[in-house]
């Protein structure tokens, strides 16, 4: 299809979609209105479950099945990337040379890494109290590990990142979330039911299963992001086609 025809089809589609969407916007309730029935019910339920952060309560208690689906999307995307970015037959792994890094940057990296790690763990732990949660904290922890690559060099990162362990943690995090859900069934209530004691409001152990699910998601997200970045780093820095000139795939 020629570029011109594609532009015509695209413009027609965009105009029609825009018209449809603007017509819909005129019937939407005004921005900032006070009619939020589901939200009010969710806040009441969150307070009843002694969970200070209502968003975490919706995520890990009221609509926990959505979060199970979301974590499984992350889990399968990482598994897909492991499969897609694997080293195929005609490729070999070449360790990249050490990158020359100014001393100040190296010191900054080594100093800030533990601080970032602590912040990430703090965000996971306080998931059901202050803003944050398993996913946000998990990504911060994973980024802190990669400070070694950014501020020091790739070899330093590889030393502290055994891939087998992180893949095990990835699978364990996903299985932990599912089994925590099954605990509700075993306790006689429904799947993913919050049957643990709810604890006192606004404390670290409040909210029954919410902090546990938070921790499971934190473990899984941390290891997922580490494995994901490991394979992207591997492809970009290490994997070369067998004989440098001819590429492993089709000759252009």
């Amino acid at each position: 299809m020629t570029r011109r025809l594609r532009l015509w089809v695209l413009t027609a589609g965009l105009l029609a979609t825009a018209a449809l969407y603007v017509a819909a916007c005129t019937d939407l309730p005004a921005f900032g209105g006070s009619w939020h029935p589901y939200g009010d019910r969710a806040v009441r339920a969150a307070l009843q479950q002694h969970t200070a952060n209502a968003v975490s309560s919706v995520n890990f208690d009221q609509r926990a099945f959505d979060t199970l689906g979301e974590e499984t999307v992350l889990f399968s995307s990482v598994l897909g990337t492991v499969v897609l970015l694997r080293r195929t037959r005609g490729e070999k792994r070449v360790a990249p040379g050490p990158a020359e890094v100014p001393a100040a940057l190296r010191r900054y990296g080594l100093l800030v890494l533990p601080v970032t790690l602590l912040i990430g763990l703090y965000v996971i732990a306080h998931g059901q109290l202050s803003p944050g949660g398993g996913f946000q904290g998990g990504v911060v922890v994973a980024t802190s590990l990669h400070l070694l690559y950014i501020a020091v060099d790739y070899k330093a990162l590889e030393r502290i990142r055994p891939l087998g362990l992180f893949e095990l943690a990835d699978g364990t995090g996903e299985a932990a979330y599912i089994l925590l859900g099954a605990a509700g069934l075993i306790a006689g209530s429904a799947y993913l039911a919050n049957t643990l004691p709810l604890g006192t409001f606004n404390t670290l152990s409040s909210g029954g299963t919410v902090p546990l699910l938070n921790a499971a998601v934190g473990v899984e997200v941390t290891s997922a992001v580490v494995v994901l970045l490991a394979h992207f780093l591997g492809q970009a820095l290490e994997i070369e086609s067998e004989d440098g000139a001819k590429d492993g795939g089709r000759e252009a």
Partner: protein
């Protein structure tokens, strides 16, 4: 003011789609797909906003204060995760396309026709 957030969401969606359709580089197209997806965050959170209300996190707030809708925030959070993972997977496919086809320009990918 009462329609601006919704219209901005619509504009971001359409700009993103235009970017994908006219892109000459697959990595650029993946970036435009991420832009298209950010329109859904804007619409969801604009739908849940309440004037004069604050975030529904009661660690530092009296329990009866007016708050914004937490459900849309949970939906937007799930959407951010889905967006990041789809971007990662499509980038992995782009890496392999570059290896196998020697190019990332959609016009030069000629394998599947007819």
């Amino acid at each position: 003011m009462s329609l601006l957030p919704y219209l901005i969401a619509g504009w971001v969606f359409l700009v993103g789609v235009h970017g994908i359709a006219t892109s000459r580089n697959l990595i650029h197209a993946v970036g435009c797909l991420a832009v298209t997806q950010s329109s859904t965050y804007v619409l969801l959170l604009a739908v849940g906003y309440r004037k004069g209300a604050t975030a529904p996190v009661f660690s530092d707030l009296p329990v009866d204060a007016p708050v914004v809708d937490p459900v849309v925030q949970a939906l937007a959070l799930t959407d951010v995760v889905v967006g990041a993972t789809v971007t990662a997977l499509l980038l992995a496919l782009v890496v392999q396309t570059a290896k196998r086809h020697g190019t990332v320009d959609p016009d030069e990918l000629s394998e599947l026709k007819g």
